[in-house]
């Protein structure tokens, strides 16, 4: 039972980070119908930039973190402005390949600047575990889950009440209507990309703190989030959150119980097996909008 609870808890923590990265996916998809395969690289880059600022300039961690967020926001806007704008109206394959090309450029930049070794992370969370019921839980888990929840709540408020948030929702609903209401759709695209880059960077820093280091494997989280957003529905923010938590728990449970049977690696493949099932039964996910195609 304790093993089960431990797995569920691990799943919830990692799932909350999936939810965060998934949020970035969904925001980009909703506003511009682009599936961003470079999301994992945004996450990795955020984690690296944060630790680089922290180590090189010896600023407090909070300041390094804030600078990372600023960097990511600018990066997101640049990506949209320089690369994605020429892609408007191009076929899906071109857009997919553009984000794949982008991802290998970003990976190359990270490798070129920081090498392939694992970079140790400073201890950003207190290390003494606390007891939750019968389970000893590391404080880092609790902090990261709390910060993810806080961030998700902030974004819900942002989308519901702020001017920019409402404009973004209008853009996602219909670009033509948004344009006629005086909303700059281009600016909304740029905002979407910078939000996506920022949430991924937050996810990267949290993961770095939890794992105690960052390396090139972080980029793989971008692919792992794909089953998450497909489960929730590519255009649903709530779906990303539910999907993230479900997938996180699923992969930990299947890894915990099936790894001894298959000899490892189940954790990595389980979300993709689930993905095939979801696509066969409910291709638009739990909360996604069903598209009706007309000639």
């Amino acid at each position: 039972m304790e093993f089960f609870l431990q797995l569920v808890l691990n799943g919830l923590v990692i799932g909350s980070i999936y939810a965060l990265v998934g949020l970035g996916f969904v925001i980009i998809y909703k506003s511009s119908s682009i599936l961003n395969f470079a999301q994992g690289e945004f996450l990795m880059l955020g984690a690296y930039v944060c630790v680089a600022i922290f180590v090189t300039y010896r600023v407090p961690f909070v300041a390094a973190f804030a600078l990372t967020l600023v960097f990511s926001a600018i990066l997101g806007v640049l990506m949209e402005r320089v690369l994605l704008r020429p892609m408007i109206g191009e076929p899906v394959i071109s857009v997919i390949m553009l984000t794949l090309g982008l991802s290998s450029v970003l990976k190359a930049v990270v490798q070129g600047l920081w090498g392939t070794d694992t970079r140790p992370y400073p201890e950003i969370f207190p290390t003494t575990p606390v007891k939750v019921g019968p389970l000893p839980v590391s404080q880092g888990y609790l902090y990261s889950m709390a910060s993810v929840l806080l961030l998700l709540a902030l974004f819900s408020v942002f989308f519901k009440y702020s001017r920019a948030g409402i404009a973004m929702r209008a853009t996602a609903f219909s670009q033509q209507v948004a344009l006629s209401m005086g909303i700059s759709v281009k600016r909304m695209f740029a905002l979407a990309w910078s939000i996506a880059a920022v949430v991924s960077a937050v996810g990267g820093v949290l993961l770095g703190g939890l794992r105690g280091g960052v390396d090139g494997a972080f980029a793989f989280y971008g692919l792992k989030v794909i089953p998450v957003v497909i489960l929730g529905g590519l255009d649903s923010v709530a779906g990303a959150i539910v999907g993230g938590v479900v997938m996180g728990v699923l992969e930990n449970l299947s890894g915990g119980y099936l790894d001894p049977v298959f000899g490892g690696g189940v954790k990595e493949v389980a979300p993709f097996v689930a993905l095939v099932g979801i696509l066969a039964v409910k291709p638009y996910g739990l909360f996604g909008k069903v598209k009706i195609e007309r000639v």
Partner: protein, 347 residues
């Protein structure tokens, strides 16, 4: 002198070689290729074989993605299937290559068709994601079905063999790889002059319209998956014969991305494009290696940066092509060719 492009019959319009001159040029080119092993060292023979194999795989992917419009990220996994079938039939059962290669192709085609079934309901992004899942599932199988695949340690493949003839080194293997490549390219080129090929293109352009016109969309999509995976399976089989030892590490997801990069850079929906793209993407690291080797004296740091430079240049090439020449090198080639064809009276 020709002063225009005159095609008076349908057959002329559909001809693969529009002039006798281009046919002769191609024969010369093939003859030159056949003579190449006399001139090249073993390293460049290895590169040449890899280029040919990449051409086959990229052509297969182009049939599916470029001509039928079904995006596939599962190509690396299909290559793996072809490779492991070769290891199994050629290694364990000692069969000769004229049996092994077609069987590898057919079995890969079957696997490809199984993973093509979701295309009945899914298209675009969703299909890309489904094939991505196929990749990870097959990779998991390759790692864990140890009795068949040898697990992470890999399995060895004997040299391609027919009776007493053994194609052990790259030089001899090339005389198997090149005719196969040429034959498969000719088949692909011809495929798109037939009803089947035109049905593929109709599905790419608008699948609902295609269905209205009487194209059985699902059947042709599956067929496209089958033909494409057959090519990829043959490529995987040759790859196994060349590498002689294969493990899941030979088929990471980056291989699938490389091949998508080939058809994007070369040109979607163009056989010539698959050739250009495969040559470009395979030669890029080699040229980079030469360049870093030449500059290593003055910039010693370059050698350490090789891996990231290679990855970065590949990504950059994709991005630049998509932004500046979305139709790829094949389109650029046609522009240049048409300019010179009627030179100096090109207006």
């Amino acid at each position: 002198m020709r002063c225009g492009d005159f095609r008076e019959t349908y057959a002329e319009d559909m001809a693969i070689f529009d002039t006798a001159f281009s046919r002769r040029l191609l024969v010369l080119f093939l003859a030159a290729l056949l003579a190449l092993p006399l001139a090249l060292g073993s390293y460049w023979m290895d590169v040449l074989n890899r280029i040919c194999i990449a051409v086959i795989a990229a052509t297969g992917l182009n049939i599916l993605t470029g001509f039928t419009g079904q995006i596939s990220l599962g190509n690396a996994a299909f290559l793996a299937v072809g490779g492991y079938v070769t290891a199994w039939l050629g290694g364990r059962h000692g069969l000769p290559f004229p049996v092994v290669i077609p069987v590898a192709g057919v079995l890969t085609a079957l696997v490809g068709m199984v993973f093509g079934v979701p295309s009945l309901r899914l298209k675009g992004l969703y299909l890309a994601v489904a094939t991505l899942a196929a990749h990870f599932i097959i990779e998991f199988g390759a790692t864990h079905w140890e009795s068949m695949t040898g697990g992470v340690g890999g399995t060895s493949v004997p040299a391609a063999r027919l009776g007493p003839m053994e194609l052990g080194d790259d030089r001899r293997l090339f005389y198997l790889v090149l005719p196969l490549t040429a034959g498969l390219l000719l088949f692909a080129k011809n495929l798109f002059r037939t009803k089947v090929g035109k049905a593929f293109v109709a599905i790419r352009d608008q699948d609902i319209s295609a269905e209205v016109m009487g194209v059985h969309v699902f059947r042709y999509k599956l067929l496209s998956f089958g033909v494409s995976s057959f090519y990829v399976g043959v490529a995987g089989s040759l790859l196994a014969y060349q590498a002689r030892i294969i493990s899941p590490e030979n088929f990471p997801i980056t291989v699938a991305i490389d091949q998508l990069g080939m058809i994007i850079i070369g040109g979607l929906g163009s056989i010539l494009g698959s050739i250009f793209g495969a040559v470009f993407v395979t030669l890029l690291p080699e040229l980079l290696r030469l360049a870093t080797g030449a500059l290593a004296g003055s910039f010693p740091a370059l050698t350490g940066l090789f891996a990231s430079l290679k990855m970065g240049l590949f990504g950059l090439a994709i991005v630049l092509f998509l932004v500046f020449e979305p139709d790829g090198m094949a389109a650029r080639w046609h522009t240049i060719r048409n300019y010179w064809k009627l030179y100096p009276f090109s207006y």
